[in-house]
Amino acid sequence: MKTLALVTRLIRRIPPFEKGGRGGIFLSAQGANPPQSPFFKGGKISKFRSAAATCAIATILQTNAIHAQHVHTPPPSVAPTIGSAAVPFELKTLDGKAAGLETFRGKPLVLNFFASWCDPCREEMPQLNEMAASAAGRYHLFGVAVEDTRAAMTEFVNEAKITFPVALDPNSTVKRRYRIFGPPATFFIDSQGVIRDVVLGPLTAERAKQALKKVGASR
């Protein structure tokens, strides 16, 4: 009992995880946040707190998930945010041409994630077609089809009269790098490869206008 009381006191001295971090067995890639101030002193982790934290984490792991065979090792993940560099990718368009972030460097890029089975993606497609038609060399527009098949996407491209290049993301690699929970999502990337705006959900004319301005591609 004395041991338990001591442990309780030790753990109480550890500040809680910061909001946005993850606890217990479910610590994972989501946040990808290094421990922040609670465990740092002048940029160095306090040995005492480090040990106590290790102890606390071990306790949580032990009590909550000792029997879980599968403990996720967080894959490296950098959530692309406004102001950060766009994540490189390499895909093939439906007609077999290689296309990646570098392909479009030098001009702003509107990178749209969509799917043939997605209602709001269909809703925004006229807007994207309009943008493709009026780009006039000011920017590129590129579609990444997520969780879709070649046949279904080809059908959708024909049906929606999509005029901009589209690539399949066969194993969801690019979707995961860009941390897309559900399509549609549109990233506005400037000519230097920096993300200047992100629109989650269907893109409207007004929102597109604002975002194009941010990447220096407005009329």
Partner: protein, 441 residues
């Protein structure tokens, strides 16, 4: 001093690691529980035709049925031209035409009948979360529903198709169940205890105001329509599966779905009917997750009931922060209207909406299957059990070992036979994988 403290902390840590294995954790796990011992993987369908989207169900005579979709042989529908985008590469057919295919086993999944095509006409049978579903009449006749894209090829304005075994080794010609065309999606079919069938789907015949409506209709054991289409709910998320369950000999019907409000907050709800599905009370929120997402998440909720009448529900939510994202569980006891606080089954390791399913055993053990990412960022299928005490969780167990991604697991359980099937996709190729296990009941 710091060193001493550190050492003592480490010592305490070791003591804890030893001690806690026998202590009573706040979320009990069954330390003695063995992992479910699954047999080897089987594959369904013709691998050259990219099988996907399996669904499993036992018939009353204890045969295990599996239904899936695969490419039709015709390379491209007559009269349709390839666009500039349409040049063929990879192994995927360039045609969206796919068939619904069925096979059954009467030896617990060891051997299977020759696959039979269900749809009489070639059509683009939809897959993914929207794949075909099967239910059985008391005389073991299979009733099947699926959806096909609407007239303009729009998957989101689809039609609900139905066929049943014709008693001569084949299937009846498919017919469309939705009276307003190009309006349905995500059909499910369930045999009611009185021998009739309920078909439910997400409907968009009233396309404004959004969002979608929940529509039902009933079929008799001959497959004839007992009712017209009728609306029993609205406010549904547009792109995820429904769940259904019966109690009181079919008088009580429970349905679960994901709702979406004007602010695009998506919580999961239970709808209850006490008149055999003719009408439903106002939906009851399962958990106020506050998941606000303007885009198109899929992976809807699952429901099952046990012998004590408890309703078990699992679902995916991202919650109010990414840290909350994961598969959750709650239970409704005694037919009440308040769900227990949610319990996380497995946290989400990446931006992915996680497909989930559950079945309940005769001993009230709940078996969960879901998709999550492994350490290599590949989607895999996982399982976990909840013991009949409703508190003791089994280990999280990885079931698939996909080279690409594995997802959308279907479960079937009868006695001590547990079966699971899922889709694996690697590049542009897909396959259906199946495994079986004996569980203690």
């Amino acid at each position: 001093m710091k060193i001493l403290l550190t050492r003592s902390s480490v010592a305490l840590c070791c003591a804890l690691l030893t001690g806690c294995s026998v202590s009573s954790p706040s979320v009990p796990t069954n330390s003695a529980a063995r992992l479910i011992d699954f047999g080897p993987e089987l594959r369904f369908g013709n691998n050259k035709k990219n099988p996907s989207t399996p669904f499993l169900r036992f018939s009353p005579d204890a045969r295990l049925f599996v239904i899936w979709t695969e490419d039709h042989e015709t390379p491209w529908p007559a009269g349709k031209s390839h666009s500039a985008h349409g040049s063929k590469s990879g192994d995927r057919a360039s045609s969206p035409m796919r068939n619904a295919v069925l096979s059954w086993s009467n030896d617990g999944g060891k051997t299977w009948s020759n696959p039979k095509r269900i749809n009489d006409k070639v059509e683009a049978v939809q897959g993914e979360e929207n794949g075909p579903k099967i239910a059985f009449a008391p005389n073991n006749k299979a009733f099947i529903v699926w959806s096909i894209p609407g007239g303009k090829g729009d998957k989101t304005r689809a039609n609900i198709r139905f066929a049943m075994e014709d008693g001569e080794g084949g299937f009846t010609p498919a017919r469309t169940l939705n009276e307003v065309k190009d309006a349905g999606r995500f059909p499910i079919i369930e045999a009611m205890p009185d021998g009739n069938f309920i078909v439910a789907w997400i409907d968009r015949r009233i396309d404004n105001p959004k969002p979608r409506q929940l529509y039902l209709m009933k079929l008799d054991p001959r497959g004839q329509s007992l009712t017209k289409n009728y609306q029993v709910g609205q406010g549904l998320c547009e792109c995820c599966k429904l769940g259904i369950n019966f109690a009181d000999g079919g008088k009580t019907v429970y349905m679960v779905d994901r709702e979406v409000d004007d602010n695009k907050i998506r919580n999961h709800v239970l709808r209850k009917s006490i008149d055999g599905g003719a009408s439903f009370a106002a939906p009851v929120e399962i958990s106020n997750d506050g998941w606000q997402v303007p885009s198109c998440p899929h992976s809807g909720p699952s429901i099952g009931s046990d012998r004590r009448g408890r309703l078990h529900v699992s679902w995916f939510t991202q919650g109010r922060a990414e840290a909350e994202a994961g598969i959750y569980y709650s239970v409704l006891k005694d037919g009440g209207e308040t769900f227990a606080p949610r319990t996380m089954i497995h946290g989400n390791t990446a931006p992915e909406t996680l497909y989930n399913n559950l079945v309940v055993g005769n001993d009230d053990t709940v078996y969960f299957a879901w998709t999550n990412l492994d350490a290599s960022n590949r989607a895999q299928v996982y399982m976990r059990t909840l013991a009949p005490d409703g508190q003791t969780w089994g280990a999280i167990q990885q079931i698939s070992n996909a080279k690409g991604n594995a997802s959308r697991a279907a479960l079937a359980l009868k006695g001590n036979q547990l079966h699971i099937a899922w889709t694996e996709i690697d590049g542009e190729d897909s396959r259906v994988v199946f495994r079986s296990a004996q569980v203690s009941q």
